[in-house]
């Protein structure tokens, strides 16, 4: 019988070959995809995030674990879609207009996906209307915005305003982050949450789900 702890450890150690192999073995043994995610991937990526926050892990370790998680997730995606299993939530994520930096955004996307969320990644230099369109089409409940520069972060405000104008603001929570972004800035522009590093995004997303009147 397949040992999901091996998948957990492979993700934690950034071992993509093992994570892919164990996942395929698990599917071969008819382990439900959602069980693979909940028993191995979510706790592994939670631990990766914890280690990153306490500086046991740095960006390479995070990227390696994300890579191991992604290759394991690959065969699960179509099965999850076909089964109609409810994920933890739907997240639309992107780097705002004028900004091409996306390593931080990619890390947040990987941690959220590993945390059980369906992630729609719009990439970098994303216009406000693209965020609106994607959030509406996907029925997203969280929108994550990333920026590297002090000037590009002003596009976060424009994006929140666009979500408001499109009538989506009451059903999506907006989470922002990036090098120049501060908690004060998040409050000033009316974002719902601010993460000063990638791993905070997952705990914030979970806190949204628990909050009264959650999206």
């Amino acid at each position: 019988m397949v040992d999901l702890q091996k998948l957990h450890d492979a993700i934690l150690n950034g071992d993509a070959k093992t994570s892919a192999a164990v996942t395929l073995d698990a599917l071969g043994e008819k382990v439900p995809p959602i069980e693979i995610i909940q028993k191995a991937m979510v706790p592994a990526m939670d631990e990766v995030g914890r280690r990153f926050e306490c500086q046991d892990y740095f960006v390479p370790e995070l990227l390696l674990s994300a890579r191991a998680m992604k290759v394991a997730m690959e065969p699960l995606r179509p099965l999850l879609a076909a089964s109609g299993v409810q994920r933890a939530g739907k997240v639309v994520i992107g780097t705002v207009k004028g900004d091409l930096h996306d390593i931080g955004k990619n890390l947040v996307a990987a941690l959220l996906e590993g945390g059980g969320y369906e992630v729609i990644d719009l990439g970098a230099n994303v216009a406000p209307e693209r965020f609106v369109e994607a959030a509406r089409d996907a029925g997203a409940n969280i929108v994550c915005l990333s920026a590297l520069l002090t000037v590009t972060m002003t596009a976060m405000k424009t994006t929140i305003e666009a979500l408001q104008a499109a009538g989506l603001r009451d059903r999506v929570k907006v989470l922002i982050g990036g090098a120049p972004v501060t908690r004060q800035f998040a409050q000033d522009i009316g974002a719902d949450g601010y993460g000063d590093n990638a791993s905070v995004a997952v705990s914030l997303a979970r806190s949204f789900a628990k909050a009264p009147g959650a999206a």
């Binding site: 390479p60 990227l63 004028g98 930096h101 390593i103 230099n125 000037v151 090098a179 120049p180």
Partner: protein, 376 residues
């Protein structure tokens, strides 16, 4: 508008004394890592095709043609005129190191100026992904490297001014050659490749920095190497201590051999490496600070007894704040850092094209007033 130049006459010797913490008295000098062409153009009134100028700065060796050479000369003239107009003690030049690089992507930040383009390095892939790429890569020979911009400035800059040579650092080049994501994977998949690339880059840097530091017109080396992000170093301090800081020491030694100050610019939270930078590498000064990570006053309190501190006026304030806020913040920094010596006023990063020029002028003007109030 700037009321008047920061200084009537450049005095690099005073700037040098401040950088080496040899004087506790005297005016607080100004020092920047760099100024974007748009800023230099607006300050001097000299037109500059900023977009094309950027192509020259990031050009690959094979891409150079007559037009790019002419633009390069225009940029050097602009840099000299900018320093003269502001009343700076130095002029910034960059060496010609023909390292083939990936093309940068450009995006319009869309603020402040009609066209405020920023260059962005491809973070996912570079020119070297494996050993074969490494072997095929056209590493420049020493005779292909030159410091003609230093020669050029030497005969054209005002008396009392010296060149501060900006050199793109090892880690920055490593990220450009591999792409950050590929580099991150390679630290686990093929650390020997990373080690070999760093070694080749170190030899190039040692040679170039040594060549520039030996030039009588060079006053200091400004080594630019972003090693951190907002909450820590990109790669683990252990990795940096094994692969990067010992090499950084070799480059610093190449500068110190000629008695020139070695100034380290590194963005991000590199607090975990500061003792290495000071005790092992032997840097003379640290630059690049963000209030979000740690305000410059705190850096000064912690490290100014051992190294000089440069700049620290937060880029967010310069980009989005008011002139009054910039003046007030400049005053607070001066109050904390001016009287002990070993401090140069400047931005937290560079005179980038997304800051408000009036805010930049306010920082300069307030520093000049502060100096005058103290009789300097």
């Amino acid at each position: 508008m700037l009321e008047r130049p920061f200084k009537e006459k450049p005095d690099f010797e005073h700037l040098r004394a401040v950088l080496l913490r040899e004087c506790k008295d005297g005016p607080v000098p100004l020092l920047e890592l760099a100024a974007d062409p748009e800023i230099m153009s607006e300050v001097t009134g000299i037109p500059c095709p900023a977009e094309r100028a950027r192509e020259v700065i990031f050009a690959n060796p094979d891409d150079f043609d007559l037009e790019k050479v002419q633009l390069g000369i225009a940029l050097m003239d602009l840099s000299i005129a900018y320093s003269a107009k502001l009343g700076l003690d130095y002029v910034t030049m960059i060496p010609l190191v023909p390292l083939p690089r990936t093309r940068t992507q450009l995006a319009n930040t869309g603020v402040g100026r009609e066209r405020a383009l920023r260059s962005w390095q491809d973070e996912h892939a570079g020119l070297i992904a494996n050993r074969d790429d490494f072997l095929r890569y056209r590493w420049p020979s020493f005779d292909q490297i030159n410091i003609l911009p230093v020669d050029y400035a030497a005969t054209r800059m005002p008396d009392g001014m010296k060149v501060v040579l900006m050199y793109m650092g090892l880690f920055e080049d490593l990220r450009q050659l591999m792409g950050f994501e590929a580099l991150a994977y390679a630290t686990a998949d093929d650390p020997e490749l990373v080690d070999d690339i760093l070694e080749r880059l170190t030899r190039v840097a040692e040679y170039t920095v040594g060549l520039a530091a030996a030039h009588p017109a060079t006053g200091a080396i400004f080594y630019a190497d972003d090693m951190g992000f907002s909450s820590g170093t990109f790669l683990s301090p252990r990795f940096m201590r094994q692969y990067v800081t010992p090499r950084l020491k070799r480059i610093t030694d190449a500068c110190h051999k000629h008695g020139k100050p070695f100034l380290l610019h590194s963005c991000g939270n590199v607090l975990s490496l500061m003792e290495d930078f000071i005790d092992v590498v032997g840097i003379d000064a640290k630059h690049s600070f963000e209030d979000k990570i740690l305000p410059v006053e705190e850096w000064y309190a912690r490290y100014a007894s051992r190294i000089a501190i440069i700049g620290g006026l937060d880029m967010d304030l310069l980009g989005r704040g008011s002139e009054e806020e910039v003046r007030a913040r400049t005053r607070r920094i001066l109050q904390a850092c001016a009287s002990g010596g070993g401090y140069c006023m400047g931005t937290g990063n560079s005179a980038a094209n997304y800051i408000k020029l009036d805010n930049y002028y306010a920082m300069i003007d307030e520093t000049r007033r502060g100096n005058e109030e103290h009789g300097f």
